[in-house]
């Protein structure tokens, strides 16, 4: 698929105008929900996905700016991503509600229509509640009541608030006698044979899962997504039968930045098999919406057991440390093997003290994560830092973990891991941000300083330019560097300039990187009719 399509895209991209800004920049929404012909369902080989990504390097690995960002460096709204908590603060009740449309399966009997035959967690799929809602039901592993189910729910709330499309997840408690078997319920056995399901099948599944002290089963019910399942998306290339899918996935910022979010929440199972594309119909159009699914293996949960200490620290197959361990007879190893975890069966194994976001690894590499540049990670880190301690605690409470110590420990880990992310990624580029034009002044914040990751600098310097957009050329306006602080006065020429004129501003932190030119943030302004707009932000790395 890829060579022809990618070549076409890149050739056409090369024919785009040389000028940095087009008249509709910055684009706020990518209209990738145009009507498309029905695509074919594509099922991924997870063996192949592992082999291809562990032993090869699919996709384009050139270090280049993400292709789907707008000129402000933000991700436009699309079928992949919606700017939520990172763009406008969501109230706590909205964060807690997440993607959920209601309260989950109705009280009473759940009718089993089939048994879950994919994935490693025992469960039923689909089941129908008394209101006719369809859900997939998964359980906790024996010995770890609440662990996988809470991880699923908490994960869905976080990833939704970040901006991804995720299913609705609800914690439910089920009595065995509330599970009714539909007459035409089918189960696919281990050999792939479909047959009618009977009560023994139900009991066999229930025998493998955790029970509460009063004999009930705690489960997570995920609402079946609307639309037609057309298979997972990969972390590289584009889908050849979806004309809306034009940006190679390894160059999508929300997929590159997913590495940072996955690190935050220890989502080491963030592989293609845990994504899904759905063909949805809205109004007269049908298009593909892209989802992340299955968060049972995040935080301290490994779905069917507690998370392995390796998770997040090393790929399943990584030749260098393996060879060194062989050569040194195991006397050498990475620091993660020394990590100590408190014993909380309801949350599994997670910690924050040894967490280094820039070194975090999923189960195996993928092109989008490998392509994540500091600017992508900065974008993601800003969103991570948007979650306050109280908001994090509120989201963790949705996991309904009965042990308050475990719940507080988990929330504390997420808070600390958030801070590690901010500490690292907000300091890799100039973090002057949150620009606002306020009359004749420009306000800004230094996010690293705001969050306490950097000391307040001695000051900032500002250099104003006239900017020739077609020629991509700058001419200094009003002299060389000036001392600057927020709010910064905007030169009169910008406020009174002709419509369509472009200007630029470079802001640097003063007093650091003495032997190098301090990293700058470049802002671009455009005069509109009677107003000045910020149309571009570039950060030097």
């Amino acid at each position: 698929m890829c060579s022809k399509t990618a070549l076409l895209l890149l050739l056409l991209a090369g024919l785009a105008p040389a000028q940095k800004f087009l008249r509709d920049d910055p684009v706020e929404r990518d209209p990738d929900d145009r009507n498309i012909p029905a695509p074919k369902r594509y099922k991924l080989s997870d063996y192949y996905d592992f082999i291809q990504n562990s032993f090869g390097s699919p996709g384009d690995r050139r270090p280049r700016t993400a292709m789907n960002v707008n000129t402000l460096g933000e991700v436009p709204e699309s079928t992949w991503f919606s700017n939520r908590h990172g763009r406008r603060r969501m109230p706590v009740e909205e964060l807690v509600r997440g993607p959920d449309q209601d309260t989950g399966p109705a009280e009473g009997t759940l009718t089993i229509l089939g048994a879950k035959n994919e994935g490693i967690t025992p469960g039923f799929r689909p089941v129908r509640d008394s209101r006719g809602g369809l859900y997939a039901i998964k359980f906790d592993p024996p010995g770890n009541l609440e662990m996988a189910t809470s991880a699923d729910v908490i994960g869905s709330k976080f990833f939704y608030a970040i901006g991804y499309n995720v299913p609705e997840y609800y914690v439910v408690y089920i009595r065995a006698d509330h599970l009714e078997l539909a007459e035409d319920a089918v189960i696919t056995d281990t050999l792939g044979r479909r047959r009618n399901m009977d009560r023994r099948d139900v009991q066999q599944i229930l025998n493998k899962v955790a029970r509460t002290s009063d004999g009930r089963y705690r489960a997570v019910a995920s609402r079946i997504l609307p639309g037609e399942d057309v298979g997972p998306f990969r972390y590289y290339g584009t889908r050849p039968d979806d004309p809306n899918d034009i940006f190679p996935h390894e160059h999508r910022r929300e997929l590159r930045g997913l590495w940072v979010f996955a690190a935050w929440l220890n989502h080491d199972d963030s592989r293609a098999i845990n994504t899904i594309d759905f063909l949805v119909k809205e109004n007269d159009r049908q298009f593909i919406r892209h989802h992340l699914i299955d968060f049972g293996s995040i935080l301290g949960s490994g779905s069917v057991s507690e998370q392995k200490p390796r998770a997040g620290n090393e790929f399943l197959w990584e030749p260098s440390p393996a060879l060194v361990r062989i050569a040194t007879l195991g006397l050498w190893d990475r620091g993660w093997i020394l990590t100590r975890y408190p014993r909380y069966s309801s949350i599994g194994k997670i910690e924050a003290d040894r967490f280094r976001p820039e070194k975090w690894k999923p189960e195996y590499p993928n092109a989008a994560f490998q392509n994540c540049l500091p600017e992508d990670a900065y974008w993601a880190a800003k969103i991570v830092m948007a979650f306050t301690d109280e908001e994090i605690r509120a989201i963790v409470r949705t996991g309904k973990i009965s042990d308050p110590w475990a719940e507080e420990y988990l929330a504390g880990c997420i808070i600390k891991r958030r801070d590690h992310i901010g500490q690292h990624w907000l300091t890799q580029v100039n973090s002057v941000d949150n620009f606002q034009i306020d009359g004749s002044q420009l306000r800004f914040e230094d996010l690293a300083v705001k969050h306490g990751f950097r000391e307040k600098p001695a000051g900032y310097t500002a250099t104003w330019y006239r900017y020739d957009n077609p020629a991509d050329r700058k001419v200094v306006l009003g002299g060389p560097e000036q001392d600057a602080r927020s709010p910064l006065g905007i030169p009169a020429e910008l406020r009174g300039g002709p419509e369509g004129a472009y200007y630029s501003l470079a802001i640097r932190r003063r007093g650091e990187n003495r032997d190098k030119i301090p990293k700058a943030v470049h802002l671009y302004f455009r005069r509109g009719s009677g107003r000045l707009d910020i149309v571009g932000i570039e950060r030097e790395e």
């Binding site: 070549l7 895209l9 056409l12 024919l15 063996y47 979806d242 809306n244 200490p309 399943l316 197959w317």
Partner: protein
């Protein structure tokens, strides 16, 4: 097709693409077509233009050859079908004694019959060196909510090239001979598990009919040509036995298939009565202690095993040479050949330092020490044979499925490829 790699620079960025000669034509055509167009002045128009171009050449996703193979391998559930067998028949690969050559067989297996209580299996296997084994087992392993089990097995073995070096710790390597061991065993076991199924106790009883005869390995002399009845009990005439015994154990290993913490302690007592000659009755006491000490999040494990077996014979009784305890081989003394030492009693110690190389493989350094001995007074740490080596263990989540151990002793190097863990 002839393919070449070219460098194309677009938008100031070098791009490495692979194409073929027709590909050059295709690029040229596209370039010419696109150059004739005016670049859009709108980002959305630009994107829309890309989408329209792509819409003209949509194609369904296609799997590569390897991907297709792996997809079908998984989708057709090849491994599951192999494990499940055909109409309850399962292929058996290996499973006979080390040194017997490649073995192949079949087993008929039914589980959870009669309300899920009854299991049956019957199978036979033969190896390249004509080792034969047939077994029938019927069991009720899930009585009393899986706390009680009852099993009956009948086993026939015909092993024509069993090694014999003579009895005692000083047997010589150059005295290697071989003999045929043919036996049939009927054994019933009744046991119970309790306290999270960690405690185990039970009784067993059965009968054994054995014959020993000339070995068929042409490389070595047959046992009766080198040894005689005076130094090799029951060489000429082999008794039949009844057996009765009891066993108990405590197992708190985390994963019995690949333990990283916990322990397993097993004790047993058995009495063997000579049914027809009254010359070879004996009693046997066995103990095996396994302990696993994890370090560093269980990525390092010290595994220790101590095993002993002591045999009592009443005055006037002796122990047939083929019923004597053996030492050597893949399960205990890995620097020695299988069954290198035989005697009434044995003791063996194994220490392994295991470390994880990556998620699918562990390695181990091991040291084995042990001896066989005749008199109880030799039950001490003196005159132990020793060996050491390195092992590679390929594992899944809960079990080692392949083990490669390389052991070295005063008698040289030994290599073992085994399915399953050593302990």
């Amino acid at each position: 097709m002839h393919r070449r790699r070219i460098w194309v620079s677009l938008d100031g960025l070098p791009l490495r693409v692979r194409t073929s000669f027709p590909g050059f034509l295709w690029i040229g055509l596209l370039t010419a077509t696109a150059a004739a167009q005016t670049p859009p002045d709108s980002r959305l128009k630009q994107w829309q233009s890309l989408r329209e171009k792509k819409a003209e050449q949509l194609a369904p996703p296609v799997r590569t050859g390897l991907e297709n193979f792996l997809y079908n391998f998984r989708e057709q559930r090849v491994l599951e079908k192999f494990a499940a067998g055909w109409h309850h028949f399962h292929a058996k690969v290996g499973g006979l004694r080390t040194g017997s050559g490649f073995a192949l067989g079949s087993e008929y297996r039914r589980e959870r019959l009669v309300n899920g209580l009854l299991d049956i299996r019957a199978g036979a296997a033969v190896s390249k060196r004509h080792y034969e084994k047939a077994e029938f087992a019927i069991g009720l392993p899930r009585l009393a909510n899986e706390h009680v089990f009852l099993e009956f097995t009948a086993t026939y073995r015909n092993f024509p090239q069993e090694d014999y070096f003579g009895l005692g710790p000083r047997s010589r390597r150059q005295d290697r001979t071989n003999f045929r061991l043919e036996d049939t065993t009927y054994l019933g076991t009744l046991g119970a598990r309790w306290w999270r199924k960690r405690m185990l106790a039970g009784l067993r009883g059965g009968i054994i009919a054995a014959n020993a005869g000339p070995g068929t390995d042409p490389r070595f002399a047959s046992t009766e040509k080198v040894f005689n009845a005076a130094n090799t009990p029951a060489l000429e005439l082999q008794p039949d036995y009844y057996q009765f015994g009891a066993f108990t154990g405590f197992d708190y290993r985390d994963e019995p298939g690949n333990p990283r913490s916990g322990g397993n302690y097993v004790f047993s007592w058995d009495t063997y009565g000579d049914r027809n000659q009254s010359r070879y009755s004996f009693r046997r006491y066995s103990a095996e202690l396994q302990q696993y000490l994890p370090l560093f999040n269980r990525r390092r494990v010290f595994a220790f095993r101590a095993k002993t077996s002591l045999t009592d014979t009443s005055p006037g009784q002796s122990l047939p040479f083929y019923m004597q305890e053996t030492l050597g081989g893949s399960e205990d003394m890995r620097g020695f050949r299988e069954y290198r030492f035989r005697d009434k009693n044995l003791m063996v110690y194994n220490l392994e330092y295991r470390w994880e190389v990556f998620s699918g493989m562990d390695m181990a350094l091991f040291g084995d020490a042990g001896k066989v001995f005749t008199r109880r007074s030799d039950f001490d740490l003196g005159r132990l044979e020793g060996c050491y080596g390195v092992g590679f263990r390929f594992n899944q989540a809960k079990a080692v499925f392949l083990r490669i151990d390389i052991g070295r002793s005063r008698e040289g190097m030994r290599y073992f490829f085994k399915f399953g863990h050593v302990f």
